[in-house]
């Protein structure tokens, strides 16, 4: 006995039995075949063996508070160093009474980042102008002068240093990378070969050699008698390094565009600069977002290399802690703490890139 429905009005039936629900999910994903079942059981067994001791080491048996190593009498991890050296991890050797300046810069940075990254920010246009001014405000706040106590860049360290190097590198390497990529695609041979030479040279040598150059011999190439700040030299090298990689990523985007786009722009009477700005780059940059963010993440991770030439970022502070008499040999704890910090920053960057990709994806989803 079936009820009559007008065409198109039949209510949706529930899915057939046994195709939904947790049992079905387990069957499908963990126990779909004998091999699969064995693999699942082996993994569960290994987890049961490994996880409890690890949880004990990380949390249950761990010591969280203490003056020095001797406070850690249990078998577990010794996290007490975090409380003791937290300020070092954040501020480096920035003078204690001036730390409010770093904090203020941090707050201003969050606002500037929100303006750039979040498209529903109120009064975004005005905020953008503020974001453009932020680097100058930050430089003034951090290094001092003009009313503030000057603080040498050798006092920078910890998270402050990572953010200074990372964000400067990211902000400057993108436009520089665009210029280099356009230069590499240029029809003018001199500009083209100069760009190719620069990009391939930078990509062929490790960053560490460039940092050595910055720390030992860059002063040779400056006018006699002049010298400038080590941090600034490092910033220049890190930025040049990242811009070469950025250029290659953007070149990929440029090459992915059909030639017709440029030809159409030219036939509409746009000159080179206009065609690039309104037609080519918006499309090319959109395609290259994953690569660009990957380069950003790479640059951010590469800031740790500054410890090899004696600057102390969080990893450098951590390495110093491992050698410090109070916390001697706590290497696993210290490095895991620093690792978590880097993981959080880099993972958020890659998630943001996914979000941006979806937002800018104006075509049809297939």
């Amino acid at each position: 006995m079936s009820q009559e429905y007008a065409p198109g009005t039949h209510p949706s039936l529930p899915p057939p039995r046994g195709t939904t629900g947790p049992i079905h999910w387990l069957k499908e994903n963990l126990f779909s075949s004998p091999t699969n079942t064995i693999v699942t059981l082996v993994i569960i067994y290994l987890f049961a063996q490994i996880l409890p001791p690890m949880v004990d080491w990380f949390f249950s048996d761990a010591t969280f508070v203490g003056e020095n190593r001797k406070a850690c009498t249990t078998d577990g991890a010794c996290w007490a160093f975090v409380g003791d050296r937290f300020n070092l991890f954040i501020y480096g050797f920035y003078p204690a009474e001036e730390r409010w300046r770093v904090n203020l810069t941090g707050i201003l940075l969050v606002v500037a980042l929100a303006a750039v990254l979040w498209d529903r920010m109120p009064a975004r246009k005005q905020m953008f102008i503020y974001a453009l001014a932020f680097p100058f405000i930050a430089t003034w706040l951090l290094t001092g002068g003009a009313g503030l106590e000057p603080v040498g860049t050798d006092k920078f360290g910890g998270l402050t240093l990572t953010l200074v190097v990372g964000i400067t590198g990211i902000v400057i390497s993108l436009p520089l990378g665009v210029l280099l990529a356009l230069g590499r695609q240029s029809s003018l041979p001199i500009i083209k070969y100069f760009s190719i030479g620069f990009i391939e040279f930078i990509r062929g040598v490790p960053l560490i050699t460039l940092l050595f150059v910055a720390s030992t011999m860059l002063s040779y190439f400056l006018p006699p008698g002049s010298s400038f700040d080590l941090l600034l030299r490092v910033l220049i090298m890190v930025t040049l390094f990242a811009s070469a990689y950025m250029a290659e990523v953007i070149r990929g985007g440029l090459q992915a565009l059909p030639k017709g786009q440029l030809e159409a722009a030219e036939s509409l009477g746009l000159n080179y600069a206009q065609a690039m700005r309104f037609i080519i780059l918006p499309q090319a940059l959109k395609i290259s977002i994953p690569g660009i963010v990957n380069t950003f993440i790479g640059l951010y991770k590469d800031t740790t290399l500054v410890i090899i030439i004696g600057l102390l970022d969080p990893l450098g502070i951590g390495r110093a802690s491992v050698a410090h008499p109070d916390w001697l040999g706590l290497s696993s704890e210290v490095y895991m703490f620093v690792a978590v910090f880097f993981f959080i920053s880099c993972f958020s960057m890659s998630r943001y890139s996914l979000y941006l990709e979806n937002k800018l994806h104006t075509g049809h989803n297939r």
Binding site: P223, P224, V322, V334
Partner: protein
């Protein structure tokens, strides 16, 4: 507004001003721009080099590579060739270069293996396997490689037991905070027979492979290439080895007092650098492998099955060759990254080329310019070599279109 601007450009191109007219001519403009660019570049280099010449003259330095033949007078803790503190800086450089090559080669092998395993795990139909690979990849590649190196090195140095309490693996391998003690081989005269068998077996396998292909092309008969190659290359040399009564004398390490005697040791620096670089790079390779396999359309597998090709053959003859085409170019850049990242060895004191010629030699002789030039040149050449090999491989597996 954009269009209007464009119009104004085209009207002004009929300008009567000769300079403007030259500027609006594409050819002339390109020459002008390039001359200006060239002038700026040359001026920049002239300025910089001039500064360097003046600065070096002020310091009484010159550019000379003769220091390379002076005694280095420092020791290197891992040397694969003859080296002592009386050897020259040049020898130190070669030792460092060999150490760099060693870590790069070992790292490339291990990272490829682990990377492929991870890539396949990411595509597994077992949810747990998939998620383990996912968590591993996300965690490892979002943490700086230098941190991985320091973490593993710190673990070996601080958390592994002293030699006295070394972790004993079958009385032949001992893991402790001074590295991995393992037996060293002392080859007896008769060993040449084993080597000879191996070489003959290898050449036979290569010949047989070609022969089997020809046979298949002409008659369609498929020969058991893999089994026969395996017997020729692995089983035959092993059989000869045991027939001749094991002509290798193993020097097994043993605990004497506070340290191990005999055998050989893989130093903590090498282990840490090798594991860290490989496991870090493997996370990236895993993602490349996954992308490569996913890039092969499922229709290819279905078509192969429809033709009656078995599953394993489909994988080997249809899916993997096509996936490799997508995987090889990013794999190339991962290998380059691994090689360049091996320069971080200096952070834990593994004596690679940066730590020898670019580190201790540089500090001892004060010849920054020359040492950095040498180091950079070495890395540039290495990069070119790896790229060349990978490009050759890429050309071989490339899609040949008519």
């Amino acid at each position: 507004m954009i269009i209007r601007h464009g119009y104004s450009m085209s009207t002004t191109s009929y300008n009567s001003n000769p300079i403007l007219r030259a500027w609006y001519d594409k050819e002339t403009r390109s020459v002008i721009v390039q001359v200006i660019a060239m002038a700026i570049i040359l001026a920049f280099f002239a300025y910089v080099i001039n500064n360097a010449v003046i600065n070096m003259a002020n310091l009484g330095k010159d550019i000379s590579f003769s220091f390379l033949w002076q005694p280095a007078s420092y020791d290197i803790n891992q040397t694969l060739i003859e080296y002592s503190s009386r050897s020259s800086h040049f020898d130190a450089m070669i030792v460092g270069l060999i150490n760099t090559l060693l870590i790069a080669a070992a790292g490339i092998v291990l990272s490829t293996i682990v990377g492929f395993i991870l890539g396949v795990m990411r595509l597994s139909n077992n949810w747990l396997t998939q998620k383990i690979a996912y968590v591993y990849i996300e965690f490892v590649r979002n943490v700086p490689v230098l941190l991985h190196i320091l973490l593993i090195h710190g673990f070996i140095i601080y958390s592994l037991p002293r030699p006295k309490q070394a972790i004993n693996m079958g009385d032949t391998f001992f893991l402790n905070n001074r590295g991995l003690q393992m037996p060293s081989a002392d080859f007896q005269p008769l060993f040449w027979a084993v080597t000879a068998t191996f070489v003959i077996g290898l050449s036979f396998a290569i010949w047989y492979r070609r022969y089997a292909k020809k046979l298949q092309d002409t008659t369609g008969k498929i020969s058991p290439v893999w089994t026969i190659s395996f017997i020729a290359v692995i089983v035959a040399p092993l059989a000869i080895y045991f027939l001749l009564g094991s002509p290798i004398e193993w020097d097994v390490p043993a605990l004497k007092g506070f340290n191990f005697k005999g055998g050989m040791v893989i130093r903590p620096e090498f282990i840490a650098l090798w594991l860290a670089l490989s496991l870090y790079t493997a996370a990236f390779i895993g993602e490349n492998v996954r992308a490569g396999i996913m890039a092969v359309s499922h229709g290819q597998t279905e078509a192969a099955h429809a033709l009656g090709v078995s599953s394993s053959r489909t994988l080997r003859l249809v899916v993997i060759p096509q996936a490799l085409r997508v995987i090889i170019p990013p794999l190339n850049s991962q290998y380059l990254n691994l090689t360049k990242n091996s320069s971080l060895a200096i952070a834990i004191g593994y004596m690679d080329v940066v730590a020898t010629i670019g580190g201790i030699s540089l500090n001892q002789t004060g010849r920054e310019m020359e040492c950095m030039l040498i180091v950079m040149a070495i890395y540039l050449i290495l990069s070119l070599l790896i790229s060349a090999v990978m490009n050759w491989f890429n050309d071989r597996i490339r899609l040949v279109e008519r």
